[in-house]
Symmetry: C2
Subunit: 301 residues, 2 copies
């Protein structure tokens, strides 16, 4: 085992990746959940996405939600965008941090944004310029970094090319995402070993789903391999509502438990994360796959 | 990341640890499940336990089950025992391999076998002698190796003392067990770093539950740290039937998926493990927490 870092930055993605496939919930319920998550001490939250309301009806209230974010001054909020127009909308709504997602695989990129990966990646300079002109930071998220639901395994070179484009465009952060929850520790370590040196001093994040049970194992492998940022959602929100118990994003409380017991500091309080996960269950009206929510903490020494 | 081994021996524990807290099922259903598991190619199976039938009614048919094991010549079967008398019963029933479980924590040891850890450990030489006199192999399993549900964290020295006693008594194998599913990768690596050199050339195994979501992460950490044997159950059988979705042992198919994608060879076929998990669900009459059972394999390259 290599040496894990002393601190990892956790971003809560419950409000965007967690809710996007759920039935739309009222803004008031969203704000209650957001407040519960903010109370965990988490420093960064992905608040919403500025994408097509018809494709993602659960996030159609992005601008209304953005108007409320000033009530949570301790949190840095970001929003996901998939086009220059989305970036402009996010900035106009007051966001100071955007994430531009580019699928490394053509199949997923076409399904998601209607164009192949290279065409999507070609927008990185424009999006970065739009953001930086307004003093807004940009994270480039490389989706389907390990596997695509249509194309199968992703050639790592595709990921490296997008990471290099992000560096060239002076993106502020890069993240690699296991969009469909297929990654495993060794594949994670191998890819990070190639991406990490390529992007120099730019912070590198990773995003995992627990779809095949290996989400936490992959997250730990990522931390050991040099990632300093991880995404998670309270309760493991983000699973498919039509497959009860199916796992979504890695659960915040399970991740915090693992990192705490590995002497890695995080800003998130475990008990508060469990409380927020219960609020999330109420908000979406069904059980969530989090393990800690069911089992509770261990007896500490 | 250190260098994982090229092969890991997997023992299926569905028939014992997986079934012991379930409502008793008929011998015929057990044999159907056993046949499905044997068809995965797994080389070792924990078939049952020779313990008090009143305390573990689900395994009261241990001798009858043992009488059927000759029908599965490709598998090495073992049985768990908790006393010299249990060891004699297992050997009389035809088992050629026994596991003697010793809790490292006094609280769990008293609850489980009515005596403190040191008294239980003092039986290792007698049990080993009984077994070896009959040409039977003995594995010493150190339970509550990280945490006890009554005493909290386990002093690692307690684990080391039992491991040393196992070596002194010429036990054939040693395993460390995360009995209540609280272990995390770094605690796993730390303990194995101390146990592994102590037991010399004796094979070291590890046993994890996924209760707090970190089972696979811990298993991978164990493999990287020098464990050559892992336990698993099909479907993740072994969860509490009164807590739907609560995770039991790490799921065989999730483990095989993770190891396959990490270039670690195992004897278990993934599709056959998924089929066996479906048989297990039928046998116990409720859903099991396995992730692969829900999500399926990824598209391979």
């Amino acid at each position: 085992m290599s040496h894990p870092p002393h601190h990892v930055d956790i971003r809560d993605v419950s409000m965007r990746d967690g809710l996007q496939i759920e039935e739309p919930i009222p803004l008031s319920a969203k704000l209650e959940l957001l407040a519960a998550i903010a109370a965990t001490g988490v420093r960064e939250m992905e608040a919403t996405a500025f994408v097509s309301p018809s494709k993602v009806p659960a996030l159609a209230d992005a601008a209304q939600l953005a108007a409320e974010l000033h009530n949570f001054p301790g949190v840095e909020f970001s929003a996901l965008v998939a086009s220059p127009n989305g970036a402009k909308r996010a900035i106009a709504a007051g966001l100071r941090s955007i994430e531009f997602v580019v699928s490394a695989a053509d199949g997923h990129s076409r399904a998601n944004v209607g164009r192949p990966s290279a065409e999507a990646a070609a927008q990185i300079p424009e999006i970065t310029a739009i953001a930086h002109d307004s003093g807004v930071t940009v994270e480039v998220i490389i989706a389907t970094a390990w596997d695509c639901p249509f194309d199968g395994p992703t050639d790592p070179q595709r990921v490296l090319d997008i990471a290099a484009a992000a560096v060239d465009a002076s993106a502020d952060r890069v993240a690699i995402a296991d969009t469909i929850g297929t990654a495993t520790p060794r594949r994670v370590s191998d890819l990070i070993a190639r991406v990490r040196p390529l992007i120099g001093g730019i912070p590198l994040g990773a995003h995992f789903h627990n779809t095949r049970g290996a989400g936490l194992a992959s997250a730990w492998a990522a931390v050991v391999a040099g990632v300093s940022r991880l995404d998670a959602s309270v309760g493991g929100l983000g699973g498919c509502p039509f497959a009860p118990g199916a796992s979504g994003n890695i659960a915040m409380e399970d991740l915090v438990y693992l990192l705490r017991d590995s002497d890695v500091h995080v800003d998130v309080d475990l008990d508060a994360a469990l409380a927020a996960a219960r609020v999330a269950q109420e908000a979406v009206g069904h059980g969530l796959p989090s393990s800690l929510l069911r089992a509770g903490d261990r007896i500490l020494g």
